[in-house]
Amino acid sequence: MAQEILNIQHLKRSFAMGGETVHALKDVSFSIQAGEFVTIMGSSGSGKTTMLNILGCLDNPTSGTYMLDGQDVGKLDRNQLARVRNSKIGFVFQSYNLLARTTALENVELPLFYNKKVNAAERKQRAIKALQAVKLDGRMDHLPNQLSGGQQQRVAIARALVGEPVMILADEATGNLDTRTSYEIMALMQDLNKEGKTIVFVTHEPDIAAFSSRTIMLRDGSVQKDLKNEKVRSARQALEELPPADSYSI
């Protein structure tokens, strides 16, 4: 039996907006096993980001329980949550969020600065390894503004990997990228998943969801569907099927 990475039960999250209360998540329950590649789908405003923030220990639910890697997250204080984020979670954002004027290598090193157990030599070595995993070890000294969007997102993925988290959380990580680059990112995600990384990937694009092994559909803060994907599409193959990039050039 696969190990359970996370388990949420009766999770609710509401926001007080002036006099009214917005129920962003209404009684959501599911669990994710180690090695799964889950996409969370849903239209805008359905609660995907709210869900991911809670899974990423950036936000606390209004009610309900959240067990992450056997730990009850609801019982942790601010500092303990920061430790959990540092050691168990790797974030990938839609807008990359790389530090400007900071080399790719230094950006990737960043999470390890907040880990007391890692010394300078190990930090550098692990960052190089993470950049190798996203095939950017040739661009270690490049600054974010010297990299394409896809390359920047790969640096961000390396940064998410470097702390050896139990899962990677991505919020619309392909939202700013063209189709080809999106597929490249998804191919990378599939590779990481094959190596055993658990991935939770928020998207609103159905063709992206096709690359995952399971899709949780949110609608108005509730789980509408939770489907296993029997025929996972290979992102590498999808890339090959795309018309060549230079086909429209003379």
Binding site: N79, S87, K116
Partner: protein
């Protein structure tokens, strides 16, 4: 997180915006440089006043005429006339704690040698003057009792007067000069003493028998401008002062109810009066400099605030990847401290450089004390913590989700 890591992160963050970091430092740089330079000037002038006053003869006692309010109108010191040669002779006869006394009558005027002119002062004195003021003769001889008796037209010249009246290489001894209309034969040359710190050149001086100056130049044969006395030792200065006071009171027939119509001051008193004044000057200059340091601190706070706002998204990201509030607090605090300490370092350098330039170019005496450097550093560190804390705390309290969403 290890403090070393935080320092590295802070340095990296500062390196990303070097110009801004420098501009932020500027207030501190100027403040510290000002503190160092001001304290150096203040201390330097105090020290050199002290040393030049004691160079004038630390046993020296000066007697000034002074109003005792008898007429109901107090008159300015020099215009008041109460000291005469009778006083000099009485002190000379009766005082036991002194080893030299000289009347002083002085006048300003033009010294002339052929085509050369030089505005200077002539001091009518007795032979003891050289001993009291610790002058020595480089060449020639001092004047004699006979010169004084006969109002002989002889004089001793200071180096500055010689430099301005005689061509280089000419030996002035035996030559004639004029002071005003009166011709004087130069019989001796004083060893140079250099500058005193009131900006006064101690070698810009002509000495002549007091009788000569009284008869030929001031045309006032009774009253003296000052009387200079030297006590047998510095320790005897106070008892010599007491002796002189009682001799003069008796000589002036003052009753117990009447105040002194003269003022006896030892060199030690003069030194302490003047040092007190220059201490006040130091305090004043330093507080002005301190204010600029404070303004520098406010500059740091201002920029740190801007920086926290600008880097809200970065702060959110750092929190998302595992920074605790205290890590963020420390990072910004350390940034502020690094800015202020680096600014302090540059400021100290600039302060030392400007102190050096002030001595070189303006010939002001400066004295750099380690205390002033240490105090500046301490103040810089405190400034960094004090003005960096509030913005840093603001950063540490940000909500990671809102910070990440910040555009």
């Amino acid at each position: 997180m290890a403090i070393l890591n935080l320092i590295k992160l802070a340095i990296k963050a500062l390196q990303r915006n070097k110009l801004r970091a420098f501009l932020t430092m500027l207030g501190i740089i100027i403040g510290v440089a000002a503190v160092i330079a001001m304290m150096a000037i203040g201390q330097g002038s105090k020290e050199s006043i002290r040393s030049s006053l004691s160079g004038m003869g630390s046993n020296m006692i000066t007697i000034f005429p002074q109003s005792n309010l008898e007429g109901g109108v107090r008159m300015g010191g020099s215009s008041f006339q109460s000291l005469t040669m009778k006083d000099v002779n009485a002190i000379k006869k009766q005082a036991t704690k002194i080893d030299g006394i000289s009347p002083v009558v002085n006048a300003s005027g033009q010294a002339v040698n052929g085509g050369q002119n030089w505005p200077t002062s002539i001091y009518g004195v007795s032979q003891d003057y050289l001993h009291i003021r610790q002058f020595s003769l480089k060449d020639g001889v001092n004047f004699t009792d006979k010169d004084i008796l006969t109002s002989a037209k002889v004089c001793l010249l200071g180096q500055t007067v010689i430099d301005n009246l005689f061509a280089p290489g000419v030996d002035p001894v035996g030559k004639y000069i004029r002071f005003g209309k009166t011709p004087f034969q130069v019989i001796g040359i004083l060893n140079p003493k250099g500058q005193s710190n009131f900006g006064q050149d101690q070698d810009d001086i002509i000495l002549a028998p007091y009788t000569t100056v009284q008869n030929r130049i001031t045309a006032s044969t009774v009253y003296l401008n000052q009387i200079y006395v030297s006590a047998i030792s510095e320790a005897a200065s106070d008892s010599a002062t007491n002796e002189i006071t009682s001799i003069l009171r008796a000589n002036h027939h003052l009753t117990d109810q009447q105040e002194d119509d003269f003022n006896v001051r030892t060199q030690a008193e003069l030194i302490s009066t003047i040092s007190a004044t220059s201490s006040m000057l130091t305090v004043l200059l330093t507080s002005i400099a301190g204010i600029s340091l404070f303004i520098g601190g406010i500059g740091i706070m201002n920029i740190m605030y801007v920086s926290v706002t600008e880097r809200t998204k970065e702060i959110g990201l750092r929190m998302a990847i595992g920074a605790r509030g205290s890590d963020i607090l420390m990072q910004f605090l350390i940034e502020a401290i690094i800015i202020s300490i680096t600014g302090g370092l540059i400021g100290v350098g600039l302060g030392l450089l400007s102190s050096f330039l002030i001595t070189k170019l303006a010939h002001w005496p400066v004295l750099i004390s380690e205390t002033s450097i240490m105090i500046s550093f301490l103040v810089c560190g405190i400034t960094g913590v004090f003005f960096g804390y509030y913005p840093a705390q603001k950063a540490a309290r940000l909500d990671p989700i809102e910070a990440l969403r910040y555009e």
